[in-house]
Symmetry: C2
Subunit: 170 residues, 2 copies
DNA sequence: TTAAATTTTCAGAATAATTTGAAAGTTTGT
DNA sequence: ACAAACTTTCAAATTATTCTGAAAATTTAA
């Protein structure tokens, strides 16, 4: 397979992959494009390669910067901004986990905390089923929270090395 | 907080939560509703409680059954179908992980395998950056694959107990 | 076999998400 | 201060997704 074709397929697939995870297609495609670009790209480059408008490019680049997956690069002698993506995928994964945990898991756990305090007789089956369900979810959610917290702090060698062995023999 | 209010808030939040994960709102809400219902519900119950049409209810219930998160229940003396959700959240998590791994991670790893065989001179910076990116993603993806595979097979006690200690001292 | 009960389907309607493009805003060099 | 280069914004257009509701299909009881 030729490089150009492979790149194109990667960008398209990464975009499709993103949509399954609540990330919009273009944002994922821009990220993919930057991941496989040796040099930083400017807005025009991205607009051209993905066939998108200036506004769209701008908004999604902004969003990627907000997620700390992309950063601005100053190139001396150039007036416009260039962008580059973090190439260490392990860092990327940790960054995404960190952000999504903060934006989604943490608020959910907070809510579950409130909901577990529902009033009513525990011998009432309706009440019991509800509090049981909430407490169950809370318990698993809190464990996920701790696990992800550790994952965020872990370095890749530890993850790829020790964890694998532990899982195998655990 | 009263039970009815708490239920409503849970169903709504679970629905919103789902949308961040590529799951449609109604599907997540039906799941939430069944999670906190002591008795199986029929299509009518679900339509009523969520204010949705018969077609919508039917399609999303089907989808939940397809994901093996909900199952049909026969109630003797009743002609219509009833539905119930798996209440053990750990099982639910494993089931979702299993399905998403099969539907998303496995195909992605297959694609990365193909893409890593791109032709061209490795001293060409364009080629090198591409293959490096692909191989990096593949490596992390394969580790995630093994980890999730183990998680799918693990039982909850192991997850809540051993893993936590391992993570803490790892 | 018949018909009532129930489920399924799917074209069209409604809603939501994304994208465009041009105008407004900002920055930079002179 | 000026204007060219560049970035940002956002109303309107487009596209994608979800939902409805009524008709068709299926199942069940007698």
């Amino acid at each position: 397979m030729k490089l150009a074709e492979a790149k194109q397929q990667f960008v398209a697939s990464w975009g499709a992959f993103g949509t399954h995870w609540g990330i919009n297609r273009t944002m994922a495609q821009i990220h993919a494009l930057l991941l496989v670009s040796p040099k930083p790209l400017c807005a025009e480059d991205i607009m051209e390669q993905l066939n998108i408008s200036r506004g769209n490019a701008n908004m999604n680049i902004r969003e990627l910067i907000d997620w700390a997956l992309v950063e601005r690069v100053i190139i001396s002698g150039e007036r416009k901004e260039f962008f580059t993506a973090e190439k260490d995928i392990w860092k990327v994964v940790r960054q995404i986990v960190r952000e999504r945990k903060k934006r989604e898991l943490d608020p959910m756990l907070k809510l579950l905390g409130n909901l577990s305090e529902v009033e009513g007789d525990k011998r009432d089956k309706e009440v019991k089923t509800f509090t049981d369900a909430i407490n169950n979810i809370k318990r698993v959610g809190e464990q996920a929270d701790r696990t992800l917290e550790t994952l965020i702090k872990a370095d890749e060698n530890w993850f790829l090395g020790s964890l694998m062995k532990i899982f195998k023999t655990g």
